[in-house]
Structure formats: structure tokens, C-alpha cells
């Protein structure tokens, strides 16, 4: 019966990448972006914008170091202001990268193979941007190492019962593990670049970074184990990081912060905004570099679906937040909820409802998910919405805390905006350097997607 044809009812699934690719053409298409192709105007423009905003960031940080955190709009009681809003926003964006690289690997979602590399890079750079804010917010950033427990002559140690110290451990672990995961994923591709680079300096540098990788079967077998284990390690890590970030709020007794559903709500929001960033980066990149055969409409469609699903969770969380405010019977929680909707930050609240509850529901429509430019616009809406969400939670709750006499409306200064835009510059700067110098799509993982990568067993 061995030669009998298997009959399946399922229709053939849509291909992940376009047909007609070979191992060689995939390798060439991705590696020429780095090695030989002329740098496109798009890259120059993006990198230039990043550089300009990065200079603005350096100026803002310089001013901050000279004059102190007072140049930001931080006044009692809103001492967290933009800094922590931006921190939470950036770190949330990073989460999609780890989700794609780790969780989708464990779930055997092969479509991740063509977007995981740049999504992981996005994670790294987003975490770098996120890290800037708590660091600068310290006031004396050069003493940041006081946050770590180390033997010191001052005879003091960090308070391990504080969520702010948990954050230090969670975010630094997250940054380290993301970097390791990313680097391990890069090793085989660095070897490809080493073998293909014409320029001797490039060959030397890629060779050094590839560490002598030669694609040995013995190495691949350990490598596969390592990838799976790292994915297994990174999965609980990514869920824990935003959970710990949400503890910064939930452990506090400020009305509007002190609730138990923050961790899942924050994690969903993080993935929501992260996929928006993935789309915002992937859509222009694949057009400019002609990678539509590798990052296909199916990838955009799937990412949009993840965005829709997590967006619905976020919408549910908003509803639950309002319900809890009412149902708790707690006068402060009730007041905080009403104040959030009708108070000084009411405009921002309703705008975020528009961005995070109304807008994602349009993603039910297949036409929007399949139209790249519309999806690009949608992802920007989501990014704005998620920023507003953090702003409303942090600034809105702090501005009207438990003590009425201390209430004050937060006014962002131009240095707040300069620092925020500056980190967007830092992100763009790093990201454009990355796409110029390293393969933005994982070459070896895309090779495994080809039909000819399957070993045909003899029928016997």
C-alpha cells in the first residue's frame, strides 16, 4: 500500500515564501543588500533622519546632565512623567521580537523565519532606547551602578523588596538574553557573509564574528538544541519582563495602578505595539529592498492578525479596568476611573480608545490586512495609541493622586519631547546601521523553508 496516494481534505496551505527560489538565490538576495548593492536613497534618508534625531537626543541629554531633571516637566506629584511612559512604551515594542523569535519557534510557526532576524534587532534597539529613560531619570545617571548589589564602602545595598530593583534585574536580563539569542541566530549567516564578502576587511570582520562556523553536522545538532533551549528560556522571560514592568505600578497604591490584572494586560499591550512596530518596519523595507518574495503578504496578514488578537485583549482590559473602578466600591478607584475619562487627560483617554479599541477592529477586514500601505498607517495608529495608553496610566494617575492638595496637571516641556524624539532617532540610527551591515533576514532559516530543503526518503 506504500505507493497509494494520501488523500487529505485540507486545501494546500498558502505558501510562506514565493515559489521559484533556490538556496543560492535566497543567499544572494539577502546578502547582496549588505555586501554589494548600492545603498538606496531610502537608507540614506532613514539613516539621516535617525542621525539628526540622535544629535537632538545628545543635546537633550547634555542639557539634562548640566541642569538636572527639572528641565523635564517633572513636578510633584507627577515625578514619572514622560520618562517612564517612554520606558514602558519602548520596552513593550521590544516584546514582539522575542515573541516572534522564541514563542513562534516553539509553536513551529515557520512563517516567523523571514521576519525573526530584524524583529530581534528591533527588540535589542528598543530595549536600548527603553533603558535610556530610567537611567537618565535617575538624575545622576553616572551612579547607575548603585542599583546593583555590589560590595561597597557606603555600607548600603539595594532593596530587594522593591519592584524598581526587580525591574533592574528583569530588564538587564532581558537585554542580555535578547543579545545572546540574536547573536546565536546570526552565527551561520555571518559565516555566509564571510564566505561571500569580496572586501578583505569585511571578510575578516565577518569571519571574526562568525567564530569559525563551518556548518558541520555536529555543530548543527548542538545548535538546534541550543536554539530550542534558548527559545524555551526566552519565552517565560519575555512574559516576565512586562509583568515586572507592570509591578512598578501595581505594587504602588496610586488609584488606577493598584490592580491585579495589570500583568496580562501589559503583556498583551506590549505584543500589540511590538507587532505594530514590526509592520511599520517590514512594510517599507520589503518594498525598498525588493524582498516581497520573502516577506510576503501572508506575513503581513499574520502579523495583523496577532495585532488584532492582542488589540482585543487590550480593549477587554480597558473595559475591565472601568468595570473594576465601578465594582470595587472604592471611592478613590471610582474617582480615578471617572477622572481618567473626563478629567484633564480625557482627550488623551478617548483618543487612545479610538486607537486601541476602535482601530484594531478594522483589521477584521481582509482588505486592510492585505493592503500594505493601509496596514502601515494602522500600525502607526497603534503605536500612537499604545504610547497614549502608558501616558494616561502614568501621568493621569499620578497627577490626581490620593492627596487633593498636591494635584497638578503635567506639562511636557520641549526637552521632554526632544528626549523622546531623540530615542526614536537612536532607534532609527541603530536599525539602519543593522540593515546595512548584517543580513536583515535569517538566511539559513529561510533556506529551510524551500521545498528542496526536505530530504526525500526512498520508498521501500
Amino acid at each position: 500500500m506504500a505507493d497509494e496516494l494520501q488523500v487529505t481534505d485540507q486545501p494546500a496551505p498558502e505558501k510562506i515564501i514565493a515559489s521559484g527560489y533556490t538556496f543560492g538565490s535566497i543567499t544572494d538576495q539577502i546578502s547582496t543588500v549588505v555586501l554589494t548593492r548600492k545603498t538606496p536613497v531610502f537608507w540614506m534618508a532613514g539613516f539621516g533622519l535617525g542621525l539628526v534625531l540622535l544629535l537632538l537626543f545628545l543635546l537633550a541629554v547634555g542639557m539634562l546632565l548640566v541642569k538636572g531633571t527639572g528641565i523635564w516637566g517633572l513636578r510633584t506629584p507627577v515625578m514619572w512623567g514622560f520618562a517612564i511612559t517612554n520606558f514602558v512604551w519602548w520596552i513593550g515594542i521590544g516584546h514582539a521580537g522575542t515573541l516572534i523569535s522564541a514563542i513562534l519557534l516553539l509553536l513551529n510557526q515557520q512563517w516567523r523565519n523571514s521576519i525573526n532576524r530584524f524583529a530581534e534587532a528591533m527588540t535589542l534597539f528598543a530595549v536600548a532606547c527603553a533603558g535610556m529613560f530610567p537611567l537618565l531619570h535617575l538624575g545622576r545617571p553616572w551612579l547607575f551602578y548603585w542599583l546593583f548589589p555590589y560590595p561597597n564602602t557606603m555600607g548600603i545595598e539595594p532593596n530587594f523588596r522593591s519592584p524598581l530593583v526587580w525591574d533592574v534585574f528583569a530588564v538587564s536580563t532581558y537585554a542580555t538574553v535578547s543579545l545572546l539569542f540574536w547573536y546565536v541566530g546570526l552565527m551561520p549567516d555571518l559565516a555566509t557573509l564571510r564566505d561571500r564578502a569580496g572586501n578583505p576587511v569585511a571578510r575578516f570582520v565577518y569571519g571574526l564574528m562568525a567564530m569559525g562556523w563551518r556548518g558541520s553536522a555536529k555543530h548543527w545538532s548542538v545548535y538546534e538544541t541550543a536554539s530550542l533551549l534558548l527559545a524555551g528560556i526566552a519565552t517565560p522571560l519575555v512574559l516576565s519582563v512586562h509583568t515586572v514592568v507592570s509591578f512598578d505600578f501595581t505594587i504602588g497604591i496610586v488609584p488606577g495602578w493598584h490592580s491585579t490584572f495589570f500583568p496580562p494586560y501589559f503583556v498583551a499591550g506590549a505584543i500589540y505595539s511590538g507587532f505594530a512596530m514590526v509592520l511599520a518596519l517590514a512594510i517599507p523595507l520589503r518594498s525598498v529592498y525588493g524582498l516581497k518574495g520573502l516577506i510576503t503578504d501572508k506575513h503581513l496578514d499574520n502579523s495583523a492578525k496577532v495585532m488584532l488578537a492582542t488589540g482585543l485583549i487590550v480593549g477587554y482590559a480597558y473595559a475591565l479596568e472601568a468595570f473594576t473602578g465601578w465594582y470595587s466600591g472604592n471611592v478613590y478607584e471610582h474617582a480615578a476611573t471617572v477622572n481618567r475619562m473626563t478629567g484633564p487627560y480625557g482627550v488623551q483617554y478617548w483618543f487612545l480608545v479610538l486607537c486601541n479599541i476602535v482601530a484594531p477592529n478594522f483589521l477584521w477586514i481582509r482588505k486592510i490586512r492585505r493592503t500594505p500601505w493601509l496596514l502601515f498607517v494602522w500600525s502607526l495608529i497603534v503605536l500612537v495609541g499604545m504610547w497614549l495608553e502608558r501616558y494616561v496610566i502614568i501621568v493621569g494617575s499620578l497627577a490626581t493622586d490620593n492627596l487633593v492638595s498636591s494635584w497638578r496637571v503635567f506639562q511636557a516641556t520641549r526637552w521632554d519631547w526632544a528626549t523622546y524624539l531623540g530615542t526614536i532617532g537612536l532607534f532609527l540610527f541603530l536599525f539602519f546601521l543593522f540593515i546595512r551591515m548584517l543580513p536583515m533576514i535569517s538566511i539559513f532559516e529561510v533556506r529551510t523553508l524551500l521545498p528542496q530543503a526536505k530530504v526525500e526518503e526512498e520508498r521501500g
Binding site: 561571500r196 553536522a217 533556506r447 530530504v455
Partner: protein, 177 residues
């Protein structure tokens, strides 16, 4: 043996050809083998009997060491080295230790995974004899290589090369040491 030789290497077009060749070579009795491919091939791992490696154990140990050190670090500081009595609450406040214990477990396990990977693969290794084969640069692109090493007891330059040629490779070449 006039020149030192690392082995003989055969070049194939497809993963299927490589896996079949690897099986044939194993069947012939060769054991000192290595195969090179531009992406991981599960069947090849089976064909070369490479399934067991110590990495999971290394990562487990890394995680355990990380978890224990994270917990002990906090215990040592909050209970012994820098105790602060806040409203008579217990110094050994273990629920508050959970997060950092968890993060240290993850951190050490991930470091163990990466260092273990490098250690088990013997990387970084800037020089390896197979790089002497000019066409080996294609092993990171679209070609598949099978190498029988000279340390194999059955190895004989002429005979082994002749045998590899019967497996229909694109090319068979000597690997200088």
C-alpha cells in the same frame, strides 16, 4: 603518507544526496565523518548518529546555579549583611525574592546555553582544514559536503576517494591538513 591529509571531502547538490551518501558511508563502516550543510538537516543528524549532546544538562545546571545564587544573594543581603527592620516584618521575605531568583535562573541558563554551545562545538575556531578546500565556501550557500577524516581506521586516500566517487558527488577533493 607523504603529505599530511585531513581527509577526503565530497560535494553534493542536495540535502537528499548528502543524507543518502552519509548513510552509505556509515554502512561501509566509516565512523570519523563530518557533514557540512548550509542549514540544519534533521535526517543528517540521524544518519550520523549525533542525537545526544550534553547541552540540556549544561543549561539545567546553569539554571539551577543561577536560581540558587539569586536567592542566596538576596537572603544574604536582606537577612545577614544589611538587615532592616520595617514594622517588624520578617527579614526573610521570600515572596519578594521570587522575581530576582527567576531572572537569575534565566540569565545563567541562557549564558550556559550559549557558552555550552560554543564549548561543545569547539568555537571560536578560526582555522579548520576544511577551509583549505576552495569550493568549501559554498557550504554556507547551496552545497552539501561529506568529509571522511584521515583518522578513521578504514581510511585510505585512494580507496576512500574512489568509494566517495561511487556516490555520485559533484566533486571529490582531498583536504590538506
Amino acid at each position: 603518507m607523504s603529505r599530511p591529509v585531513h581527509g577526503v571531502i565530497a560535494e553534493f547538490d542536495s540535502p537528499t544526496a548528502l543524507v543518502e551518501a552519509a548513510r552509505a558511508v556509515r554502512e561501509k563502516g566509516y565512523r570519523k565523518l563530518d557533514a557540512y550543510s548550509p542549514f540544519p538537516i534533521e535526517e543528517l543528524t540521524d544518519a550520523l548518529h549525533l542525537h545526544h549532546n550534553k547541552l540540556p544538562l549544561i543549561v539545567l545546571l546553569g539554571g539551577i546555579v543561577g536560581g540558587i545564587s539569586g536567592y542566596l544573594l538576596q537572603y544574604f543581603i536582606t537577612v545577614l549583611y544589611y538587615p532592616i527592620n520595617i514594622g517588624g516584618r520578617p527579614l526573610h521575605s521570600w515572596p519578594a525574592y521570587i522575581i530576582i531568583t527567576f531572572e537569575c535562573t534565566i540569565l545563567f541558563a541562557a549564558l550556559a546555553a550559549v557558552l555550552g554551545l560554543l564549548g561543545l562545538c569547539g568555537l571560536p575556531m578560526p582555522y579548520h582544514p576544511v577551509f583549505n578546500v576552495p569550493r568549501f565556501a559554498l557550504a554556507s550557500r547551496n552545497r552539501f559536503f561529506l568529509c571522511i577524516e584521515a583518522t578513521d581506521p578504514l581510511f585510505d586516500l585512494e580507496q576512500t576517494a574512489g568509494f566517495l566517487k561511487t556516490l555520485e558527488p559533484r566533486e571529490v577533493s582531498e583536504v590538506a591538513d
